[in-house]
């Protein structure tokens, strides 16, 4: 039994280590410009891939109705009106767009771009700039009810190294190999069996 536990622990640890090694990246940072088009009930492109340290310039458009763009991990939210080249963006996401509209506090001037790290409150922009300092997988979701399938409208921003995936796969492989190396336990030495 002790041998089995030790083998399992060692192989899972080896798998985790392999996953970390697999996930690492040494490529230099780059700037990526993406036009994201929102439509019922998907974003185009559905998946954005980048590396930690990259700069992402996002331009948001809608082709049908008003959509939102809530980006996990960066606490960013946006409101995209159809057929407009600019959009409203705010941070933190708790800021209430509807309340601001009631109070007449929505911005009237459109800026060419805004950097997320310096963003406070609601701004109207043509482009939002994200420095991707956090690795992992972040979903962007529609935050304005846009129809029946609204809760399932989402896209993905994958910033490598994406440890949960690579480490998860490494651990799964280690776990599988460990069980294949298991030896049967003598039933007479097993404890805690009730009858």
């Amino acid at each position: 039994m002790v041998r089995n536990v030790l083998v399992t622990a060692l192989l899972v640890l080896a798998g985790v280590g392999g996953g970390v090694w697999w996930a690492r990246s040494t490529a230099p940072p780059q700037e990526i410009v993406v036009d994201v088009e929102a439509r019922r009930y998907a974003y185009e492109p559905p998946v954005l891939r980048a590396r930690q340290g990259d700069v992402l310039r996002l331009r948001l458009r809608s082709t049908d109705v008003v959509h939102g763009f809530f980006l996990e991990g960066y606490d960013l939210d946006a409101r995209i009106v159809p057929e407009r080249p600019d959009f409203e963006v705010w941070r933190p996401s708790e800021v209430q767009w509807a309340e601001a509209e009631k109070r007449g506090e929505l911005p009237t001037k459109t800026e060419s771009s805004v950097e997320v790290s310096s963003l406070q409150g609601i701004r109207r922009v043509r482009e939002v700039v994200l420095r991707l300092d956090r690795p992992g997988r972040f979903r962007y979701r529609c935050s304005h009810t846009c129809g029946f399938m609204h809760p399932f409208m989402q896209g993905e921003l994958i910033v490598t190294p994406n440890y949960p995936f690579h480490v998860g796969v490494g651990a799964a492989i280690g776990l599988t190999l460990a069980f294949l190396a298991w030896r049967p336990v003598d039933p007479s030495r097993r404890r805690g069996t009730s009858s």
């Binding site: 009930y41 996990e72 029946f148 776990l175 069996t193």
Partner: protein, 507 residues
């Protein structure tokens, strides 16, 4: 007071050990340890009182679906049933308590009450042959040819094909759930006992499969007592309880699939021989006996992947295909339906069967190179045939599938949970603000941590699948080398499934 030696001898030394063939590993008789719980479960009003609030809520949800807003995330039917109820069911009730939902489910209640013509008490006829309870209705027996869960499998697949409509349109949910009540009521008047739950309810089908993993199980404390019992009250009924509505005989029950946890047997048993046992999750009840049960495991696993792609994935094409009433893309919907049914009933079972065959070849090939140990021959372990391997190795897909469903359900709750708070104040989406929470903004809860939690849950599922798979391989071959070679192709499949889900949720 002196101790009588003869009594001591009889009660302590000569008393045979209780026959409990289902006990493997650590089990605890919860009823013996916690006597008030045993008392509560024996209380005749227990199930009625468990059902009643759910019944009121259920009818309120149906009314809300019919008269409230058609926007799903603003209607209590969608938010409470498909976000809150589903999350609690799959992450807590099923792994911890198996079919506990069946104890309190309001769907068959009206039919059962009408069949019994009682809400709480028992109708008993001591002179009646066979069943001792008097039931209203035609009292027909369910056809033998349908004594399986194929109908449940097909009904569940049908509902799953329309799931994008079911979980986003309150009106569709109302008609489906309302239809289930009507069907259960009609069947209760024609057939005896809960045939709707046992053979037709799509939810019951997967609850039964995943109840095999649960940490709680109702069992006879000693099978020999059941064999000697002259009344068989658990099966035929008594003045204290109805005969098992699920048509289960406790004296042979060693799997939880078809025990609906109604606790009638606790009340009707004249020998106090029924106990509620606590056991480890996922590893004690590992026998899939029939092809319909194996297919249920395939269907559930494939559907977890299908839902993850359609509902949680970023790909709009699949959503457009599934959301057919809005997009009108019937050709796409047919392609989607063909993909779902083909994957569940043909592609995955075929791939699984092929790997079972490889497993059989691998163990035989290894068997030629090693001498079968004497212990193996003594244990009667021969060469398992394809059918045995096919059924036995389908069990590890049960914990693997359940944990995949839990991983799927985590973002449903953590991302959309804030709708629960707002809908509480405005259940019909009519602009009310009953509790002052109607305008709580939508805000996902710990969204960055959800993929990490999902990865952990999936790895847990793989660990339980491998642990049970290893035990099954050992039981089948009784030789470590042959068991290892036989297990390897199946372990490869479970690994592949886990990596697939890891990619869907975190990759």
């Amino acid at each position: 007071m002196s101790v009588r030696p003869d009594v001591m001898t009889e009660s302590v030394v000569d008393r045979p050990a209780p026959k409990r063939p289902y006990l493997k590993g650590r089990w605890m008789d919860l009823g013996e340890r916690v006597r008030p719980l045993q008392g509560l479960l024996r209380w005749r009003s227990f199930q009625f009182l468990a059902i009643l609030p759910n019944l009121f809520l259920f009818y309120f949800f149906i009314l809300a679906a019919l008269w409230g807003t058609p926007v799903g995330n603003r209607n209590i039917m969608i938010v409470f049933v498909w976000i809150l109820w589903w999350f609690i069911l799959i992450t807590l009730w099923v792994p911890l308590a198996g079919r506990l939902w069946c104890t309190m489910c309001p769907i068959p209640a009206l039919g059962e009450w009408l069949q019994r013509l009682r809400l709480v008490t028992v109708r008993f006829a001591s002179k009646a042959k066979g069943f001792k309870n008097v039931l209203f209705g035609l009292n027909r027996k369910w056809p033998r040819a349908l004594d399986n869960i194929w109908l449940q499998n097909l009904l569940f697949l049908t509902l799953a094909t329309f799931s994008a409509l079911l979980v986003t349109r309150p009106i569709v949910s109302a008609f489906v759930l309302g239809g289930m009540i009507v069907l259960a009521l009609g069947l209760a008047l024609v057939f005896r006992h809960r045939v709707f739950c046992r053979y037709l309810c799509p939810v019951s089908g997967f609850l039964g499969l995943y109840a095999m993993t649960s940490s709680v199980a109702l069992r006879s404390r000693d099978w020999d007592v059941c064999v000697r019992c002259p009344t068989k009250g658990c099966m035929l009924g008594s003045e204290n309880g109805w005969g098992c509505p699920w048509m289960v005989y406790m004296g042979k029950l060693d799997r939880s699939n078809y025990c609906g946890l109604c606790f009638e047997c606790l009340k009707s048993c004249p020998n106090d021989n029924i106990g509620l046992f606590v056991r480890p999750f996922g590893v004690t009840e590992t026998r899939i006996l029939h092809l319909d049960e194996a297919y249920k495991a395939f269907i559930m696993l494939v559907l977890a992947a299908v839902y993850s792609v359609t509902l949680l994935g970023p790909w709009g094409t699949f959503k457009d295909w599934a959301n057919v009433t809005e997009t009108g893309d019937w050709r796409g919907f047919l392609a989607y339906a063909a993909l779902v049914w083909g994957a569940c009933l043909v592609a995955f079972p075929a791939m699984y069967g092929l790997l079972v065959k490889v497993s059989q070849w691998a163990s035989r090939w290894r068997g030629r190179r090693v001498l079968v140990p004497a212990s193996a021959s003594a244990n009667g372990a021969g060469e398992p045939d394809f059918r045995t391997l096919f059924l036995r190795f389908s069990y590890p897909l049960v914990p693997l599938g359940l944990l995949a469903w839990i991983a799927f359900s985590l973002p449903l709750f953590f991302v959309n949970g804030s709708y629960i708070v707002s809908v509480l104040s405005d259940p019909l989406g009519w602009g009310w603000d009953l509790l002052g929470t109607a305008h709580v903004p939508w805000k996902p809860l710990i969204p960055e941590w959800v993929p990490v939690l999902q990865a952990g849950v999936l790895l847990g599922g793989l660990a339980v699948a491998l642990r049970t798979g290893w035990a099954i391989a050992w039981e089948l071959w009784r030789d470590p080398r042959r068991a290892r070679w036989g297990l390897a192709p199946m372990a490869g499949l479970w690994l592949m499934v886990t990596v697939g889900f890891l990619w869907l949720f975190t990759g």
